[in-house]
Symmetry: C2
Subunit: 722 residues, 2 copies
């Protein structure tokens, strides 16, 4: 508490009430620095409080970043220039990594949450000696096929842990990385063997702190007490619109304290290396709370005319300002030239990391020998190799089994997988009793019980998604899942996309999948959502029609989470489950589900009409088929739980399911009909809903919106007549 | 500051470090109340500190809510039971509304951000005397066609201001409502005539406070200093997963203080009416900060066996527990029976409101006479009647005009509309210089300059959308716009959907619309986003191909924002603009754009092939047409800036643009090809991108992903041969 009070004195802004009325220039949309705030900025010039070598190393980061952005004629030099001192101290003296073994399990994780400053990350990787980022790579910044894209992408560049750019994702990923570490440490460490023991470091900016996702993630990190999460907040008070005074005047430090973080402030992040060092040491020593270190810097430090302005945020310095900056920072080296002294400083950090890895390998070997059972489980998580029996407990169902909501089947599958899938970990955004996501053999992951595997995310969908991504990217064997109502994917669409892009094999468990949820009404009823994930690249969207298909969807989701697919990359899945019940069928299967679509009724010969159903409407298609058969028609029913998997089958299989000569086709799905033309063709019909739902009992809504067996029968007749 | 310190003593939780390790039951996923926290809960029984009539009125709220939920056999009784005292004091003594004139301009606005407690809102409306909610309506809770849906829906129920349910949207809407009030007050009030002067009250719960959007909105409200925004935080410490101890242990009050709010705490919200009253009075007296009043309550207060548990959150009490609750609260009345004394108490509030309206009408009349010019503008905003000349400054372009990015055209249109559109107000989520959204004749809306019309949202997309919705729903003449990069609609998808659902006529200005943005890479490149909005009901998605079409899109967006469409309801628009330039065309027009799709090349006779383009690919279609014409083909080019508007044209027009007999068709659009089957048919081809983009210069990406004139030409030949 003493720390807190001191800090608010040091870091405090003047009370809002005391701040002067904005002068006219500010009113006109121009940035005028508030005098009181300007006083809080660190000095724009002066000597680094450190050695000559420190200065060279720090300026090497700055000029590699300047040069990279200049050469690309595109990018963000301001952040690397301002963050160079803190990141130098961090990487040289604190980050425990071995550039020769970028994927070493026990490495510290680094996340540049302010991903636009990617040249900072690339410069650091290069200077530390990662072979993934050579000088040639830095020269290819933002070019086609390079390992140095505009924002850090983990799947392109070794040494980059997660993909960042959309602000706030990185800090939430980092909460996931730190939670993963806490979990594995509690689960595997022994009094005589610390197998898991690393920190997660983040650099985040004003933009990250304005985003709601960072608040969600920070609140949860505080609740969980993740003591090995340390975030450096680059307080440069500049965003794209200008000075943060125009939109962001809260007391960030006080907010983090309220959320249970340990908070420090380094007032001069441009020069005070010792202050940075001490703050990092203190942060490491606080083991029961995550740490925020606000480091006040100047964006574009060193640029005489652009530092401390938004001009240096997202545009190249250009030749003349680069020259001026060289002069101001006393940098006589050529473009992309790095003095050996700078490399030498970073090499000390790399050596420290290599030594740590060597020691860890000894620990690992001893552990493997002494605790073979635990080690096997640990290894499965570290390597991603699935145990042979991982799926053996997935149950089978027949029509004799009671019909259930697929959300209940989903619970069955999670509980069937959990005992044999060491990396399965997850939970819900405060909807566990509705999403049915608790693994009954485990307790809650909480401060004091990190070894447990049920995560309680609270009502924080956005952070939940990004935290799950972080867990996935921590170790290949994690199979994280996270859950909410399907409608609330609207709150977490970016992390779901980021999972797909960055190859994080997360299972997004989404229940209450249609108007079938009934009385909660249109704010809670997905209509367009199935389609909206079918169009997302690298995301599998699955909607099973009964128990066997729910098992099949989990089977497919785990395989894809584990990169077991034709592309050989991890793919996340959106698993879409009903609130309401539906019958089990005899003809559904895991095997069929894995193919995306398959015949569940009327497979022999050429049908007069094909009915395609998904999820809770599959049984409706079967009922319609029976009615039509009563009228003498030959009818095939195709279940299509996953478009994407079906599209990946060969043409022969696809044509065997949907013979091209059969143009009478009807789809039925309680969602948007948009895009179903692809499967039903120009003579086909689609039954669905293309407007918002309403509040009323679910079965009545199906009638009111015309999603009925009779509607399918009528559509089939129309299609046959077309 | 003194207030703050007192509060943290009263409201403070024990330090996290001091809290005991969770016992085993908690670890197993069961809720065990932490003793220290339990102590902070107000007593579960006891007399209300007020009159007998107060008690009747409060219990009337509770039992109407209980009865409504029981009858529907679905819903959330817990919140209304707990919030009855605070909402009674608020509505009877503070809320200035006239139930006889629910849309009276100067009414106080009430938002139930915790929308699942909708029976609270309906009970209050009924008891206050709103004709929209009769006892019969309460009996129809959650039924088809009723005015009492599962969550409050402004478009169904007079007296409901905004649609809530997705947590956190309501508090952000309320920030918009309060910002709208502050703006209109600063713009129109005169020293002798306070035409605009009302409060915005919110009831929010733990769930709202866990959501990131509420942090974003609260931070901005604090920055803006919205003194007439007063939020009652229903601190009942229960959410669906159980006690908030399992996921939400931050100090909410301290967080709000850090964000610049005035914060108070009422420790016993179940009984202490005077405490609630005093806190509301104090909150009203604090004019330079928004106010949070944390009111500690028990969820399901009065239910002897379910109060203070999550069982009462989202399920009916049921017959026996209702009987027990009747007994405990001494409520002898029949189902849905309300004693006259209860009505009489609320009638006092209604009378107060009616009197206030009468007085305001006098102010209005005097203002209209004394300030006719200002009044005309004011009236336009209050009534929604567009000025006759609103669109007259929209420019026209020819091929002689320099080709520009549509984001630049967008800026031109905003600045052409602003002088003649009194309700136009908006801004960007910290991307104003990239989105090009500043209205140059206005300054920034800030504390001290509320009359200005450029909003600086900071990097807070989610709250931005909901705030814009609140502004739209404040008064019919507002035309709010808000902007970010198109990719970041992923951060604000729910408010965009809520705009469409709740008929908020917001213009969502989205720039950097494709891989054309280039070097920022796949985290910033929309692929699936156009499609994802085309499938959203009641949302117009527009992507103009040059200057004239940009004008047309704004024209259509404003008309639809103003309910000038066949459906007669307000519709929001997603306006999608390019980063990169494209030529202006002679054949594009506002009129064509308003029809959604139209012929821009080769309109005479029956073509051999039709090329359909949108946005920056329209010119590509034209170039391909010319190439094909060079080879002797007859080619038509259709520009399709808005699918939805085209779908609303009559069949004759649609067939005139896309003659059914011409089956050789090609679409070209730098986005997902999903769904284009609808327009190109089974013999057509679609050029687009169905994978993530990459970091490289934009023109190169077009080549790498095969979105080129040659690709269109090839596809056209294939389609003609099919």
């Amino acid at each position: 508490m003493v720390v807190a009070l001191q800090l608010s004195t040091v870091a405090g802004r003047p009370a809002l009430a005391q701040r002067k009325q904005q002068p006219l220039k500010a009113r006109r949309g121009l940035v005028v620095r508030n005098q009181a705030t300007a006083a809080a900025a660190p000095p724009a010039t002066g000597a680094i409080k450190g050695t000559k070598e420190d200065e060279l190393a720090i300026n090497a980061i700055r000029f590699l970043s300047i040069d990279g952005v200049n050469k690309a004629n595109s990018g963000h030099p301001g952040l690397p220039m301002g963050c160079a001192p803190m990141s130098y101290v961090l990487w040289k003296e604190f980050m425990t990594v071995d550039p020769k073994a970028p994927k070493w399990f026990n490495r510290d994780r680094f996340v540049l949450s302010a991903g636009h400053g990617s040249m900072l990350n690339y410069s650091l990787l290069h200077l530390m000696g990662y072979s993934s980022v050579q000088i040639e790579d830095l020269k290819q910044f933002r070019q086609w096929g390079s390992k140095t894209p505009g924002h850090p992408e983990n799947f392109l560049t070794e040494g980059v842990e997660v993909t960042t750019g959309p602000l706030g994702q990185g800090i939430a990923n980092a909460v996931g990385l730190a939670a993963a570490e806490a979990h594995l440490a509690a689960r595997f460490n022994k009094p005589d063997a610390k197998l898991v023991d690393h920190f997660t470091y983040v650099i985040m900016g004003d933009g990250c702190n304005m985003e709601g996702i960072s608040s969600e993630a920070a609140s949860l990190a505080g609740h969980w007490g993740l003591g090995k999460l340390i975030a450096l907040y680059d307080d440069n008070r500049i965003s794209i619109d200008g000075h943060t005074d125009i939109s962001f005047t809260e007391d960030v430090c006080a907010r983090y304290e309220a959320m249970g973080w340990h908070v420090q402030h380094v007032a001069d992040g441009n020069h005070d290396l010792e202050g940075i060092r001490k703050a990092l040491e203190t942060a490491k020593s606080v083991t029961d709370k995550p740490s925020l270190i606000k480091v006040s810097t100047l964006i574009g430090y060193g640029s005489p005319n652009k530092a401390d302005t938004h001009d240096v945020h997202g545009a190249p310095l250009g030749a003349s300002e680069t020259a001026a900056t060289r002069e101001q920072l006393n940098w006589p080296y050529a473009e992309f030239e790095v003095p050996q002294e700078a490399y030498a400083e970073f090499a000390k950090g790399a050596e420290r990391g290599a030594e740590a890895r060597k020691q860890w390998e000894e620990v690992r070997a001893a552990y493997a020998e002494k605790y073979p059972e635990e080690y096997a489980e640990f290894e499965s998580i570290v390597t991603g190799k699935l145990p042979e029996n991982w799926a053996e407990k997935l149950p089978k169902f027949t029509s004799e089994d009671k019909g259930l909501a697929t959300r209940l089947h989903s619970q069955t599958m999670l509980n069937a997988l959990a005992p044999n899938l060491p990396g399965l970990i997850g939970g819900s955004a405060d909807l566990a009793p509705s999403n049915m996501t608790l693994m009954k053999m485990f307790g809650d992951f909480q401060k004091g019980s990190y070894a447990e595997r049920n995560l309680r995310f609270g009502v924080r969908e956005h952070a939940m998604g990004a935290i799950a991504n972080g867990i996935s990217l921590h170790s290949p064997g994690f199979v994280p899942y996270c859950a909410t109502f399907f409608i609330f994917t609207d709150y977490m669409r970016n992390p779901m996309r980021m999972a797909a892009l960055s190859e994080a094999g997360v299972l997004f468990v989404m229940t209450h999948d249609s108007i079938g949820l009934g009385e909660d009404g249109p704010t809670h009823q997905p209509v367009e959502h199935l389609t909206s994930f079918r169009i997302m690249p690298n995301m599998l969207t699955m909607r099973p029609g009964d128990g066997n298909e729910t098992a099949g969807c989990y089977y497919a989701a785990v395989l894809n989470s584990n990169a077991q697919n034709a592309k050989g990359i991890k793919r996340p899945s959106t698993l879409v489950f009903s609130r309401q019940g539906m019958p089990n069928m005899d003809t559904t299967s895991i095997e069929g589900t894995l193919k995306g679509a398959y015949v569940v009724h009327g497979g022999e010969g050429t049908p007069d009409v094909i009915l395609i159903g998904t999820g809770s409407e599959l049984c409706m298609a079967v009922d319609a088929a029976k009615k039509l058969e009563g009228e003498g028609k030959k009818v095939r029913v195709v279940s299509m739980p996953c478009w994407e998997l079906f599209e990946e089958q060969d043409e022969a299989y696809r044509n065997s399911v949907l013979p091209p000569e059969v143009t009478a086709r009807v789809s039925v799905e309680a969602g948007s009909t948009f895009g179903w033309e692809k499967w039903v063709g120009s003579k086909g019909k689609s039954i669905g809903i293309n407007e918002f739902g309403a509040s009323a009992p679910g079965p009545l809504l199906y009638e009111k919106y015309g999603i009925t067996v009779d509607a399918v029968v009528d559509a089939a007749k129309q299609s046959m007549a077309a």
